[in-house]
């Protein structure tokens, strides 16, 4: 796969000397949505967090093997520099307790953007991409905490985009949302894959099937099977994958 943007080689993670992920070899293709699926505790989120070194913020996490971003080992890069390129959105929406506008200018200001016009442009563009602009354009100074759950999650995605990442990691971004908001986010992700590479951890097999181009099935801390979503769902190679897709583990 020549257009791989992220590659994991013999990758593994241990928490407090207990191995939770081992022997992972995989590639994430650029400009596509890759879904990571698998039963609870199989190491999906751990693998995701390893891709932008967010694991390091957790105590007692040790990683083995290597993760390459555009061919460069991410452990040779500054963590801040890496996370700017590989953004992340969490399971529960995490709007900062400040206005919508300040949430959106939080990262650009850090990266040195100071002009009011330039900031306003960044705010508008990214809110438009996530379809939030029309809903909040008159309330930019309203506290982000007053938005609905779905709006908050879209704000978090828009906020992650203000750092201009190449890859966007999403850790079950819809698990705390209702059906309608989930649908909006899924449509948004399909739109975003034109510009960004997306990796999404999901429990929802239907969601993986609806939006993902590639699918990784994890089991017991190992990468069990990987294929295009269509192929993986239509023709799983391993018994465990088939069982999982049929709901045996669920």
């Amino acid at each position: 796969m020549s257009d791989a943007i992220i590659k994991l080689h013999d990758f593994g993670v241990a928490y407090d000397q207990k191995t939770v992920l081992s022997g992972v070899n995989t590639s994430i293709r650029s400009g596509r949505i890759t879904a990571i699926i698998g039963p609870s505790g199989c190491g999906k989120s751990t693998m995701l967090k390893a891709m932008n070194r967010m694991l390091e913020t957790q105590k007692d996490a040790a990683v083995f093997g290597s993760v390459l971003l555009n061919g460069v080992d991410i452990h040779t890069m500054e963590a801040e520099q890496l996370r700017r390129k590989v953004g992340m959105v969490f399971q529960t929406p995490t709007p900062f307790p400040m206005s919508v506008y300040k949430n959106m200018t939080y990262a650009p200001q850090y990266y040195g953007v100071t002009g009011k016009q330039e900031l306003s442009r960044i705010v508008r563009e990214n809110l438009e991409v996530t379809g939030l602009w029309e809903e909040v354009k008159d309330d930019l100074n309203k506290s982000a905490l007053k938005l609905s759950g779905g709006q908050q999650q879209r704000l978090c995605i828009a906020r992650a985009l203000t750092a201009q990442p190449e890859v966007l990691l999403l850790d079950e971004p819809c698990s705390a949302l209702d059906v309608k908001s989930t649908q909006v986010i899924e449509e948004l992700l399909l739109k975003l894959k034109e510009t960004y590479t997306i990796v999404i951890v999901t429990h929802n097999l239907f969601q993986a099937r609806r939006i993902a181009d590639d699918c990784i099935f994890m089991l017991n801390g190992e990468l069990w099977e990987q294929n295009t979503t269509e192929e993986l769902f239509a023709n799983p190679q391993k018994k465990e994958t088939r069982d999982y897709l049929q709901g045996v583990y669920a």
Partner: protein, 274 residues
């Protein structure tokens, strides 16, 4: 079982009543004894009389105390909050963190008169500052440092870590995250911790005896000169038997200041919690 519950309830209510009763009595007694001394002159003039303190007012002591307390807060809050930030967000070694906590506990346990002796030896003698407002303020600052640090550390640990992680996940540095997310989040607790520290410093006499407080001085204008302080003035008025009326008046003013600043801290914390 019912009797047991009733007894526990009675015990709790009685303890509450006793605590409130003691506090109420203390305030009522000081107010009753001291309110008579409070006049405009008492608040705006310097101590006078054949024996200093029998007549006139306590203005230099009020202003002096404000200076001592202000410097103590500046010093104690800066170091206390920075230590807490380091401990919670920068220190990777559990051992070092434990060591800091131990040092803070020891500092909190040092008697204030010993703290005064430390300030006297280091600032007044070794650095050659002499008795002055700066030396007194810094000594008090060292005294309230652990007081502020403990509260700041608790507040910092209570900040929602999901927000902190969300900030890191965008590539923000720790310093930026602390400045933009963490500190604004716990500002109410930090401010109320500093104000409580201020009340503690305002009432402490021992650290000032060797380092800054004097029996009589003009309204202070220079940090490198000694100044009067309310608790020291009160101590002198009582121990020298100068004027018990003015002593109660001074105590009354001190308690009003402490009460007002404490209420401000509570109000500030409450307003920001809403």
């Amino acid at each position: 079982m019912k009797l047991k519950t009733a007894l526990v309830k009675l015990w709790a209510v009685a303890s509450c009543c006793l605590t409130f009763g003691v506090i109420f009595f203390l305030f009522a007694y000081i107010f009753a004894k001291g309110a008579g001394a409070i006049t405009w002159e008492f608040l705006t003039e310097s101590p006078k009389g054949m024996i200093i303190g029998t007549e006139g007012g306590i203005l230099p002591a009020i202003v002096g105390s404000a200076w001592y307390t202000g410097i103590a807060c500046l010093f104690g809050a800066t170091l206390g909050i920075c230590t807490a930030v380091y401990q919670v967000y920068y220190c990777r070694s559990q051992r070092l963190s434990n060591a800091i906590a131990l040092v803070m506990q020891c500092m909190a346990g040092v008697p204030s008169i010993v703290m005064g002796l430390f300030g006297y030896t280091l600032l007044v003698l070794t650095l050659g500052w002499g008795k002055c407002i700066l030396a007194g303020g810094i000594t008090q600052g060292v005294m309230i440092l652990p007081f502020i640090q403990v509260r700041a550390e608790k507040a910092l640990r209570e900040v929602d870590q999901n927000l902190v992680r969300a900030s890191y996940a965008m590539g923000m540095s720790r310093a930026y995250t602390v400045r933009r997310i963490v500190l604004p989040q716990c500002l109410p607790q930090l401010v109320s911790g500093v104000i409580l520290g201020a009340c503690y410093a305002m009432g402490a006499c021992a650290p000032l005896i060797f380092t800054g407080a004097v029996i009589i001085a003009k309204v202070p204008k220079d940090l490198m000169k000694p100044a009067m302080a309310l608790p020291y003035h009160l101590y002198m008025l009582l121990t020298q038997g100068t004027s018990s009326v003015n002593a109660y008046g001074t105590a009354f003013v001190m308690m009003i200041i402490v009460l007002v600043t404490n209420s401000l801290a509570t109000w500030f914390a409450w307003r920001n919690k809403k």
